[in-house]
């Protein structure tokens, strides 16, 4: 999984029918120190995350489909948790 910050939302009325009702959030992967790293991506939100929050994102199709709870949906990333704190020994 990746630690990301929710940086925005996406509105799309013309989309795959299985995505209707799914919240589409723009997330930016972060380093452990909170710096942006790499390219932002789009994830469905299954835990009610808000813009600005640090979240845990799974970037794999089957897991994202499971998080959405709809079999056979064309998704490849999902927010699966909201991060409260991160403790690390500073070596990364």
């Amino acid at each position: 999984m990746q630690i990301c910050r929710v940086v925005g939302t996406v509105v799309s009325t013309q989309k795959n029918r299985k995505l209707h009702g799914a919240k589409l959030m723009l997330v930016q992967p972060l380093t452990l120190d909170g710096e942006a790293r790499g390219v932002g991506l789009l994830a469905i939100d299954s835990v009610g995350a808000g813009v600005g929050e640090r979240v845990l994102v799974v970037i794999e199709g089957k897991a994202a489909g499971d998080a959405l709870g709809r079999k056979g949906t064309a998704v490849d990333a999902a927010i699966i948790g909201i991060v409260d704190t991160i403790e690390h020994d500073g070596t990364a």
């Binding site: 940086v7 925005g8 939302t9 996406v10 509105v11 799309s12 009325t13 013309q14 989309k15 795959n16 299985k18 995505l19 589409l24 723009l26 930016q28 390219v39 932002g40 991506l41 789009l42 994830a43 813009v51 600005g52 794999e60 199709g61 089957k62 994202a64 489909g65 056979g72 949906t73 064309a74 998704v75 490849d76 990333a77």
Partner: protein, 88 residues
Amino acid sequence: MQLARVIGEVVASVKDVNLAAATLLVLQPLSASGEPAGRTLVALDSVGAGVGETVFFVRGREAAFPFYPAEPPTDATIVGIVDHWSTE
């Protein structure tokens, strides 16, 4: 998924039989701020996107799901046209 702009179309008359009815669009992935990010790619279209539109696409095995029960050999498929997106 990732944001992208549709920048072109690929026509291939000789191709895998499972791609017969497919539209092949050229995408430029975008960052959250809308800047081009990463290499262009070719994706199947499942929502009727046109050149110039901002879309989002899915990668991997799930890219074939919108065409169920057909199984086109695709690793990227457009699954939504973006009306607008906001970033902080």
